[in-house]
Symmetry: C2
Subunit: 228 residues, 2 copies
DNA sequence: ACTTGTATTCTTGTATGCAAGTTGAGCTTA
DNA sequence: TAAGCTCAACTTGCATACAAGAATACAAGT
């Protein structure tokens, strides 16, 4: 006799599935989840779920409280603001070091990247992760030429802390064309070597989400953030 | 009949014990360890050991290779250099924003901190962690006044990636009085508002370990680092 | 009405047995 | 001697049973 057999997911797949749900806000900030609940949902034992939980916990997506339960973490606006500040400072400094003296070969790669961005933006339906992937490459090219590859990886690591925030921006506002335009302006500054304009542009670009969301953070989205 | 009963350690304690051994280099970079080995050593099952392993793995202290084994990670000099660069850029920028306009109250706290540093340095036997705790407070006070508390926490988080490197510095060179002197000079610059001197001093201070260790990294300590 | 104790039912933490993959020693064979 | 195969002894991943703390509903007593 053969029985229908569902091959269970492993801990990595559980991790990815949970992370996606958290980023999509299907699992909302503050929501309570348990190992058993997730284990039943994906037809696995608690072990791989716990493994995934521990990983998500170290990335501050969830908080495990012994003998009580596990919560999806609330967004921390102070943390988000300072991460944005951090990235602004680092990226401005790195770009200032290479601005105006980037070889044609690298500039061409940036132009190619911009074309890909334009292509994605012009589509009727835009997949956020697809755009952000190319977005990330644009900045990575700059850091690579500045010989600061690891630094970009570090910055990327911290992006996870406010990926959900960026997601709110899309849901609430959702204008990728604006980001694309900013990248174009940034490119012109990098090419021309306008060191003064760089700082202003960088500030504008990286604080975009914060500005666009504005007071919504304290009103309709207030439940998602830590109260001070 | 009563029997002698050893109450086992929990996963947090196992984590701390392992981390300490890794930082002390008792568990050397590149060394192979296994869940069973640690579980036997501390008289617990594999479960709390695995929990500790997962946490250490997310902090890049160890690397878990499925079905093969678990290794203490090698030091990555490129990563270390860029973390030092990152901290230099961030701390210089933050300090520039407050330099010369720090109220007496905050300056007094810094002076008090320096006195504690002096006290520790003058002892015959210096406990590294004790000094680094006060050292960290010195910088924390500055970030706190600059309203960048979270940013300092972020930087602290990344320090773990090169705590072992700093430990090599102590073992190989071990001169805390030098660090104390640098802090005193830094204080004078902060107090006086010498914005130009700050950048130079900061570079010197934060690149100290790198300079002191010098070529030893490639010679007698070479086994501890990733080969390129 | 209020307090208090209890029992049930959640939660996560731990111990243990088994599954599956990797490595390396030692035997076999040419 | 040297190459190749087999098997035993490891490794981590997963499933499951039990332990222990926390919260809640509820009944008994004041």
């Amino acid at each position: 006799m053969t029985s229908v057999h569902f091959k269970g997911m492993n801990s990595d797949e559980i991790y990815s599935a949970l992370k996606e749900d958290i980023l999509n806000l299907k699992l909302a900030p503050g929501q309570l989840i348990s190992e058993n609940e997730i284990a039943n949902k994906y037809n696995v034992s608690r072990t791989p779920v716990k493994t995934a939980f521990l990983r998500l916990s170290s990335e501050k997506f969830i908080e495990i409280v012994p003998q009580k339960g596990t919560y999806v973490t609330l967004l921390d606006l102070d943390l988000i603001k300072e991460i944005i500040y951090m990235r602004t400072v680092l990226e401005t400094t790195v770009l200032k070091g290479i601005i105006g003296k980037i070889p044609t070969e690298v500039l061409d790669r940036l132009v190619l990247n911009l074309k890909m961005q334009e292509e994605i933006v012009s589509k009727p339906i835009i997949e956020p992760s697809e755009f952000y992937k190319i977005d990330s490459q644009f900045h990575a090219i700059c850091f690579e030429y500045a010989n600061k590859t690891k630094l970009w990886e570090i910055i990327q690591e911290f992006q996870v802390y406010y990926t959900r925030f960026r997601m709110l921006d899309i849901v609430a506002v959702g204008r990728f064309d604006r980001l694309y335009e900013e990248h174009c302006q940034l490119f012109e500054i990098i090419e021309s070597g306008d060191s003064a304009g760089l700082e202003e542009m960088m500030n504008l670009h990286l604080h975009g989400n914060l500005n666009r969301l504005g007071d919504r953070i304290y009103n309709e989205l207030g439940d998602y953030f830590i109260k001070k």
